[in-house]
C-alpha cells in the first residue's frame, strides 16, 4: 500500500511513523556510534523546541533512547512539516561552538557494592582499579526511562563493560551505583534490578518537589568521586 509515510533517510536520519501524535527519529550508523549521534540530535532538537520556530512548538515531549529520539506532539501538530524540519536539522552543519547545554554534576560514591569483587574478577582489574576507572572519566547521561530519575550514563572506561547479572535482584537499594554493558547508572529508589552493584551514594537523584526533579537529564555530564579520596 502506498499510504504508509515513507521512511525517509538522509544524512543518517530516518523518520518513522508513531501514531497520530508522535514521530520517531532514528539515527543510523554503527551501533556503537548511535548514542553519540542521538545525544547530538537530542541537543539540537531541544534547542529547536526552545527557539519555538516553524513546526517545533507542536512538540510536547522529547525522549532520547539508544538509537532514537521520540517527538511527542500536541494534537493537531503538522507531522509531515515536523519530519521535514527534523531531517533539515540533522542535515545542517552543527552549530560552530555549542556550549554544553547541561551542566556537570559530581556524585560522591562509597565503593562498597555487593558485586565489586565480581566486577573486578570479570574485568581482570582489582577493586581499587575498578574504582579508579569508574572515577577517571567524565560520563554523560544518554537517556532515561527505567524509573523516574534513572539515567543511562555512557563514556566510561571500556574495561568496565560487564554483562548484567544472570538473575536480577528483586530489590536493589536506593542510591546503588551499578554497571551493565557500556552503561553506568544510579538507582534513584529501591527497585528490582539486574545491574552489577559497585557502590552507593547519598545523592538524591529524583525529587518531584525540586525543579528540575531529576539530576540526571539527558546530556548532563557526570563525574563520580570516591568518598575515600574526597576526604
Amino acid at each position: 500500500m502506498s499510504d504508509e509515510p515513507a521512511p525517509a533517510s538522509r544524512r543518517g536520519l530516518t523518520v518513522l511513523p508513531a501514531g497520530p501524535d508522535a514521530l520517531l527519529l532514528e539515527v543510523s550508523g554503527a551501533a556503537e556510534s548511535g548514542i553519540a549521534e542521538v545525544l547530538a540530535l537530542h541537543e539540537r532538537v531541544r534547542a529547536a523546541v526552545d527557539r519555538g520556530e516553524g513546526p517545533w512548538p507542536g512538540v510536547s515531549d522529547v525522549v532520547p533512547a539508544a538509537r532514537t529520539v521520540l517527538l511527542h506532539t500536541r494534537p493537531g501538530a503538522d507531522l509531515p512539516a515536523l519530519g521535514a524540519a527534523a531531517r533539515a536539522l540533522a542535515a545542517s552543519p552543527p552549530p560552530p561552538s555549542s556550549p554544553p547545554a547541561q551542566g556537570e554534576v559530581e556524585i560522591v560514591v562509597r565503593y562498597d557494592g555487593a558485586d565489586l569483587a565480581e566486577v573486578a574478577a570479570m574485568t581482570g582489574l582489582d577493586p581499587a582499579e575498578v574504582v579508579r576507572a569508574h572515577t577517571s572519566t567524565l560520563w554523560r547521561v544518554a537517556f532515561g526511562g527505567f524509573v523516574p530519575g534513572f539515567g543511562y550514563l555512557v563514556g566510561g572506561d571500556p574495561r568496565l563493560q560487564v554483562p548484567r547479572r544472570e538473575s536480577p535482584r528483586t530489590r536493589v537499594p536506593a542510591g546503588s551505583v551499578a554497571l551493565a554493558g557500556e552503561f553506568t547508572g544510579v538507582y534513584p529508589r529501591a527497585s528490582p534490578g539486574g545491574w552489577q552493584l559497585i557502590g552507593t551514594t547519598d545523592a538524591v537523584l529524583w525529587d518531584p518537589d525540586r525543579s528540575p526533579p531529576a539530576v540526571l537529564t539527558p546530556g548532563t555530564r557526570v563525574r563520580f568521586v570516591d568518598i575515600e579520596a574526597s576526604r
Partner: protein
C-alpha cells in the same frame, strides 16, 4: 467552608486524573492522565471546566461521596446506575448536589471506567504540573480512599451550557453496531516492517479476534489468543529501547500484543508495529478482561 467531596466508600480503584503530565518522559516519567480521554473531556465540557482540571476515574463503580457545599457534577465514560440520595440520576447529565447529599455510583453494565467530574475540578496539589495519578511511576496523588476529603477548586468563568450530552458511541466499547467484538483502528507504527510492513496483516495482528487478557490495567491491555509472527529478517533481532507512545501496539518476545494505555512506560525494548488512533485508545481503555477485540487499519 471549602467545597469538597467526602469519600465514603470506593470500589476496586478510584484515581484522580487530568490531561496528563507531558514533558518528563526523558527522565522516566510518563504522561499518564485519564485513560479514556474523551470521557474525561466530555465531563469537563458538561460542567464548564477547563479540560486540565482533574476528575475522578472510577474503575467498576462502587463509589459513594458526600457533597460539602453545593456542587455541580457529571458522570461520563462507562454508563453505570447512579443516584443522589434516593433519586436516580442520568448519565452524561448535569447534576446538582446539595450540601450533604450523597452520590452513589453502581457497577457499569459494560465498560470499565466512569468519570465523575465536579465543576471546579478536584483540587489536590499538582505534581510536575499535573494532578494525574501515574500507577507505573508512582508520581501524582495516591489512589482515593474512604475517608479522603477531596477539595473542589473554584469554578471557572465558563458556565455549563448543555444539560445533557448524547451518549458517545464508545460508551460501550464496541460501539453501536454491537457484534460483541470491539473494532479498534490502528495507524502505522515505527516497526511495522518487522511484521511484514503496513498493508500486510502485520503478522496476524489484523484479522485476528483477540481476547483481552486478565493481566490488563492502566499501563496496558494484554491480548491473547494468537501470536504475532515477525517477518524472517527480524526473527532474531533485538531492538534497543526506544520511546513509547500511548496507544502503541507492542509485540513482546512471546508474540502476544500489548496495547499501551495512559500509564505506559516512557521507553520499551520490543517492536511497536502499529499505534491506535486517539478514539481507539479511549475505547480500549473501556475494554474488560474477556472482551473480544479486532484491530483494523485506519482508513
Amino acid at each position: 467552608m471549602i467545597p469538597a467531596l467526602e469519600v465514603l466508600e470506593t470500589g476496586p480503584l478510584v484515581l484522580i486524573e487530568d490531561e496528563g503530565r507531558p514533558g518528563h518522559a526523558s527522565v522516566g516519567v510518563g504522561h499518564s492522565g485519564a485513560a479514556d480521554r474523551s470521557a474525561h473531556r466530555l465531563g469537563a465540557r458538561l460542567v464548564g471546566n477547563d479540560e486540565h482540571l482533574a476528575s475522578l476515574e472510577v474503575l467498576l463503580g462502587g463509589l459513594r461521596v458526600r457533597a460539602r457545599g453545593r456542587l455541580t457534577v457529571a458522570l461520563t465514560g462507562a454508563p453505570a446506575p447512579a443516584r443522589v440520595d434516593d433519586r436516580p440520576i442520568g448519565h452524561a447529565s448535569l447534576v446538582d448536589l446539595a450540601h450533604g447529599s450523597v452520590l452513589t455510583l453502581g457497577m457499569p453494565a459494560a465498560g470499565l471506567r466512569t468519570y465523575l467530574t465536579v465543576r471546579g475540578g478536584i483540587d489536590v496539589a499538582p505534581v510536575l504540573g499535573s494532578r494525574s495519578a501515574d500507577t507505573l511511576s508512582g508520581v501524582g496523588p495516591p489512589p482515593v480512599r474512604a475517608g479522603d476529603v477531596l477539595p473542589v477548586g473554584p469554578a471557572g468563568a465558563t458556565f455549563p451550557h448543555v444539560d445533557q450530552a448524547a451518549h458517545p458511541s464508545h460508551a460501550v466499547p464496541w460501539g453501536s453496531g454491537d457484534t460483541g467484538v470491539a473494532e479498534l483502528e490502528v495507524l502505522p507504527g515505527p516497526r511495522s516492517a518487522w511484521v511484514g510492513g503496513w498493508g500486510s496483516s502485520l503478522g496476524g495482528l489484523l484479522g485476528t479476534t483477540w481476547h483481552v487478557h486478565g493481566d490488563s490495567d492502566r499501563i496496558g491491555l494484554r491480548l491473547s489468543g494468537f501470536r504475532v509472527e515477525r517477518a524472517a529478517p527480524y526473527r532474531d533481532v533485538e531492538l534497543p529501547s526506544e520511546g513509547l507512545v500511548r496507544g502503541a501496539v507492542q509485540i513482546p518476545a512471546g508474540g502476544a500484543p500489548v496495547l499501551f494505555l495512559a500509564d505506559h512506560p516512557a521507553t520499551g525494548g520490543y517492536p511497536v508495529i502499529a499505534v491506535l488512533t486517539a478514539s481507539a485508545i479511549d475505547r480500549a481503555a473501556q475494554l474488560r478482561p474477556g472482551d473480544l477485540v479486532r484491530l483494523r487499519p485506519s482508513p
